[in-house]
């Protein structure tokens, strides 16, 4: 029998429907791989027993409704799952068992999928290498001691190592697209407001979005369709018709215009990434796309603005971790000392840095110089995109300025770590949808991705362009299993 864990999500669903194999067989194949994957450290919580029960129950049922019928799915441990521990990669939530389910995961289960486990991530999704998790570093299946990217690093590694058929991550400044690029997988950040944020542990509320991480563009379209939609519990989710991303998916992109922003050609960018970008342009030309040079003049200011907005929102959001309502509590002589010790012991270094930066930029006397300034810059960045989208349908850029790097390589220099997100952050500031598509390898034989940025709520166009790219690039995920 062929290895089911190697299949795409779409093929698994088809096969289960046609009774070529059972949900139990599918589930067992992923559990088998997952059980031998401790060296990758992708799981925080394994739900294998419950998943098997769900699979067996599914196989006994006569009618199999739902778009994700019978497939197990592991998700980033940032989504609240009812009665299953949800940690956000933090010690402070080490013992938190939600009594409710996030809207996005609820949608997966209502389409017939069930939970396989909760995947490691950077603490509170703050990181670009999955080295800030309280539960340890995640390893990239492409090589020992290599980072999978972050913050959805556990999700990306699990997917690339065939431990889950697909997964859901979150993206505040690149946390889906950068790890997707580092692991040769597809990752999409939807338009802000496309998916409900209800039940997702909050990092920066004006930037956070949940999104699919998959092996193929077809899987991505299907999963996006399942998790999209208005939710009365999230007032920032938008009541707009959810397109049929999956059945409307087409590689016919002839006549579309793609913008190439000159500001993304940064100094010291590896030659391979520039070449990959050119290759992508040529493939799209081959698909009948018109290429247009554009300018997004404020790009260089996106990352500094992000490092005001995101920490400011984080410092407010994380004020709730006080050792009273849930999570870790430390002892203290009085209430204030209890708060201070709880937060000192409960949060890791990177989270502390960001809370303190956020507190600083919002503190009395500094608000205008930093936060207000950042909001103005954010306006200019959004206007850059608005202007470009008057004449182009989507924008093509590299996903990251480098491929995966060694663990510890960027230790002790927070800013050099932040620079990883230079191509992904502008999209979050402008609330736009963007996808990273695996597109090739560098000299070190590590995967690289290309990013397509779309107009608000036009995920369909970037999915179609991605499909056109995928067919022409014919990327093979060359993962050698070394960790068993």
């Amino acid at each position: 029998m062929t290895d089911l864990s190697n299949s795409t999500l779409v093929d698994l669903i088809k096969g289960i429907k046609k009774k070529d194999f059972t949900s139990e067989e599918v589930t067992k194949s992923f559990i088998k791989n997952s059980e031998k994957s401790d060296k990758l450290n992708t799981y925080i919580t394994k739900c294998f027993d419950q998943a098997l029960i769900s699979a067996k129950k599914f196989d006994k049922k006569k009618d199999h409704k739902g778009l994700l019928s019978g497939v197990p799915i592991a998700v980033k441990d940032l989504f609240c799952t009812k009665d299953v521990k949800t940690t956000a990669g933090s010690k402070i939530l080490n013992n938190f068992v939600p009594t409710y389910e996030s809207t996005v995961t609820k949608k997966l289960w209502s389409e017939g999928a069930f939970l396989l486990g909760k995947l490691n991530c950077d603490e509170f999704a703050m990181g670009s290498s999955n080295e800030t998790s309280f539960f340890g570093n995640v390893t990239n299946p492409f090589g020992d001691k290599l980072v999978p990217g972050g913050s959805s690093g556990g999700s990306a590694s699990a997917l690339a190592a065939n431990l889950t058929p697909a997964t859901i991550g979150t993206d505040t400044g690149g946390s889906i697209r950068q790890p997707a690029s580092f692991t040769g997988t597809v990752g999409l950040k939807p338009t802000y407001g496309r998916c409900s944020r209800w039940g997702i542990v909050a990092f920066a509320s004006s930037l956070d979005q949940a999104g699919p991480m998959t092996k193929t563009v077809e899987d991505c379209a299907l999963l996006l369709q399942c998790i999209s939609g208005y939710d009365p519990n999230d007032s920032t989710s938008i009541d707009i018709k959810v397109d049929n991303f999956s059945s409307d998916l087409t590689e016919k992109v002839k006549g579309l215009t793609i913008g190439i922003p000159k500001e993304y050609r940064i100094e010291n960018m590896p030659v391979e990434i520039d070449e990959l970008w050119k290759k992508g342009i040529n493939f799209l030309k081959d698909a009948g796309v018109i290429i247009k040079d554009i300018s997004l003049p404020h790009t260089m200011y996106a990352l500094p603005a992000y490092y005001i907005v995101a920490p400011a929102e984080a410092s407010s959001n994380l004020a709730r971790y006080d050792g009273v309502k849930y999570g870790h509590r430390s002892k203290g002589k009085n209430l204030i000392e209890m708060y201070e010790n709880t937060r000192s012991e409960g949060f890791g270094d990177e989270v502390k840095r960001r809370i303190l930066i956020g507190t600083y930029v919002l503190s009395s006397g500094y608000y205008e110089a930093y936060y207000l300034k950042a909001q103005k810059v954010r306006q200019l960045i959004k206007q850059d995109f608005d202007n470009s989208f008057k004449s182009v349908d989507a924008i093509l850029t590299p996903s990251t300025p480098s491929s995966s790097f060694k663990m510890g390589e960027k230790e002790g220099d927070p800013v050099s770590m932040y620079l990883n997100d230079i191509f992904t952050v502008p999209v979050n500031l402008a609330g736009l949808p963007a996808i990273s598509v695996p597109s090739g390898y560098d000299k070190k034989k590590l995967p690289l991705g290309l990013q397509l940025i779309g107009k608000p709520f036009d995920e369909q166009t970037i999915l179609n362009l991605s499909l056109a790219l995928q067919k022409r690039i014919n990327f093979k995920r060359n993962v050698k299993i070394w960790w068993k």
Binding site: R353, K373, Q375, P414
Partner: protein, 95 residues
């Protein structure tokens, strides 16, 4: 601008995070390098730019003012480090 040790101590007080001297030292260095990075924005003139306060154009939807949950005290208390079945319990505040 750099963030000196006194500033680190002040903001850590505001953020309710206790720090030891070693942490204050290293945070002063880290936060200074982050703030220097952020201050690249000063090169950009934004005098006549309206701040972007909401990324979505849509106005908030109104809904009926009705009770949709409630009676979930047990659920709310379930994850608290200390409670007396009715309330969260914290160290004594008023002597």
């Amino acid at each position: 601008m750099s963030i000196d040790k006194d500033t680190v101590k002040h903001i850590s007080k505001l953020a309710r995070i206790s720090l030891n001297d070693k942490q204050v030292d290293s945070l002063s260095k880290d936060l200074s390098s982050i703030i220097r990075f952020i201050e690249k924005l000063n090169k950009l003139n934004t005098d006549n730019v309206k701040p972007l306060t909401s990324i979505i154009d849509a106005s908030l939807k109104s809904r009926e003012d009705e009770i949709r949950d409630g009676k979930i005290r047990d659920q709310i208390l379930k994850n608290s480090p200390e409670n007396n079945d009715e309330f969260f319990v914290v160290p004594k505040v008023i002597e």
